[in-house]
């Protein structure tokens, strides 16, 4: 079990409550579940890394429990009760200095301290869809939802939000533009926050500027955008919508750089690798797909029997050290850091094609 979990480079949560770890190098997927009895109310709502070294995965379930899974040991180590069904689903999980931050749909944002039972609570408004933590300033947290504009909170001063976004001006018919923030991300090395909405808009806000309205606004498609992710190189964002359309948008001008094909169902989780130009996406069509962002081709595809839902493929590809060379040359050629055909060495932490679960390969013949 421990060995299996240490191999996994991508973690996915499913609607049945099973945590699935996928090892792209070994091309296998493993199921990790707590008990033999599964119920639908253990559906995974959100996932987050428990610590900066990426050894623990926190999973928020529909019934209000937060489970901790240790990747080194391969078992669920802890499970806490953090709310119940009446308050709605978890919309965000984060960890700050050994205390757990949870947010539910009804708007209750709680900070659970280790050991001591006092919890700090903030009411962020009803209908919350997402809560995210700033990776560089861990005490800043952003929330947003349906008719609930983007708000930035400082957990050390929980009485009032630091920044509340203002709605854009009325549209050309002089009607109020509805607000529906679906996903939020913090842009690294700057103060800016990018959000995607259910009305197919992508907006960038800058809390440090006096302007509370978005700095940049673009539209993509006709369907609600469900998730977004920021790739390693700045100034672009990848968004996915309910129809399975994934697009890379440029944040400098707000234009579409390209679309990623392949998904057939609504996108539920998107995660870009922190350093390599690689994107993992999962959705309602029960597939986990790994695409390369440079040429937008599919690299891996893994099929699962149950729908992947609310799952952040949190925990992107970790540092997989010293990859042995394998026979499948084609995929390796598309990676950076490849010197020759023979010497595909160590630092390629990239997923080679999975075949353990009879994954179909889309061969990239090009480079040869």
């Amino acid at each position: 079990m421990a060995v299996k979990s240490q191999l996994c480079s991508v973690w996915v949560g499913s609607e049945t409550g099973i945590l699935k770890g996928v090892s792209l190098s070994k091309k296998q997927a493993f199921n990790f579940c707590e008990m033999s009895c599964l119920t639908r109310d253990q559906e995974v709502c959100t996932m987050a890394w428990g610590d900066p070294h990426e050894t623990e995965v926190l999973i928020g379930c529909l019934n209000g429990r937060v489970k901790t899974f240790s990747t080194e040991k391969g078992i669920f180590t802890e499970s806490r009760e953090c709310g119940d069904l009446s308050q709605g689903r978890f919309t965000g999980l984060a960890v700050m200095d050994s205390s757990l931050i949870t947010c539910v749909e009804s708007g209750l944002l709680k900070v659970w301290n280790e050991g001591s039972s006092n919890t700090a609570e903030i009411n962020v408004g009803t209908g919350v869809c997402r809560m995210r933590q700033n990776p560089s300033q861990r005490h800043h947290v952003a929330t947003g939802g349906k008719e609930n504009p983007l708000k930035l909170w400082d957990l050390q001063r929980p009485d009032k939000s630091i920044f509340t976004a203002k709605n854009v001006a009325n549209d050309w018919l002089d009607l109020r533009v509805p607000v529906w923030v679906r996903d939020i991300a913090f842009i690294q090395d700057s103060n800016k926050i990018v959000t995607c909405t259910g009305h197919h808009q992508v907006r960038v806000y800058d809390p440090s500027s006096p302007q509370r309205r978005p700095v940049l606004e673009t539209q993509y498609g006709e369907y609600p955008l469900t998730t977004l992710s920021l790739p390693a190189d700045q100034a672009s964002v990848v968004v996915g919508n309910t129809h399975g359309q994934l697009a890379i948008l440029d944040l400098r001008k707000g234009l579409v750089r390209g679309c990623i094909k392949g998904l057939a169902g609504g996108v539920r989780g998107l995660q870009c690798h922190p350093s390599l130009p690689v994107l993992a996406s999962c959705g309602l069509d029960r597939f986990l797909r790994v695409h390369s962002l440079k040429d937008r081709t599919l690299q891996h595809k893994v099929h699962f029997p149950s729908m992947l839902c609310g799952s952040d493929t949190a925990g992107e590809v970790e540092e997989v050290k010293a990859e042995e060379e394998e026979d499948e040359d084609e995929v390796w050629d598309s990676m950076e850091m490849v010197k020759e055909h023979q010497g595909k060495r160590a630092t390629c932490e990239e997923p080679s094609e999975a075949s353990g679960n009879r994954v179909k390969r889309k061969r990239k013949v090009a480079k040869q």
Binding site: P224, T226, G265, P305, M307, R358
Partner: protein, 326 residues
Amino acid sequence: RYEKLIQEPVDNGSVEESESAGSSFPPTFSLSTIKNKQRRHLMFMKLKQEKRKQKLELRKKRKKERDALGDKAPPKDVPKTIENQRVYDETTVDPEDEEVAFDEGTDEFSAYFNKLTNPKVLITTSDRPRGRTVRFCEQLATVIPNAHVYYRRGLALKRIIPQCVSRNFTYLMVINEDRKVPNGMVLCHLPDGPTAHFKVSSVRLRKEMKRRGKDPTEHHPEVILNNFSTRLGHSIGRMFAALFPHDPHFVGRQVATFHNQRDFIFFRFHRYIFKNEKRVGIQELGPRFTLKLRSLQKGTFDSKFGEYEWVHKRHEMDSSRRKFHL
């Protein structure tokens, strides 16, 4: 010049034979270079007859060899069909997969499959339907037990759905009509279930069917679901199964078949009779139509804001002739 004109067919014939003898020296002669249509046609006919003769000879030779070998002959080759050559689909459901079993045991249809609810279907159309669609709906209502046809008075589906739920309907079926002919179907499982959108084609009403039997009776038919092998196929198959009540009345000897082939679902309704233990006679009653899945949406009908479990994307999914999704 006159001589040349006569000589041409002879020349061309001889050139052609040397071509078919196997040499491929340039300039190669091709039928398309003959400008005269009649002569070209004649040459083409000759070519075809040649080929047919050769094929027949080959076949005779092979048959002779096979007869000569007698019992030791190698087995006959299976001809390649598109179904044989189908690309292996990794989403094909393994019957022993526990996770799939759990998923199916707790999905939206579990209430039906655990015999907790009985199906009750509401059939309606798009607004202002014309004769053919109206008759189609009526015939569908005779085929599906416990089905009610209502006139759609221009009402919005999102408003109809809560009313259906409160009146204990389990399915909403909307037949869409275009230019006086039904061409689409939205099948929505009611409490909060998936909504499937199909393209309907080849609708044959009862009076257009040849050698048909009498009208269907009120007995619950049996249901046959053929060839729904992938995970998506399973979901759709369960959707169709949940349209009909659990206990079929075998006395009625009626059967409704949903046969999936190459992503098209063929619906037929038959009455059968066993002539003896091995032979069955069937009579087709009832309407006949084909469906093709366009999208499967999670949740009740909400085309703008709903999440889609599967959307048919023509350019990505229809690029291979041997890949199917259901």
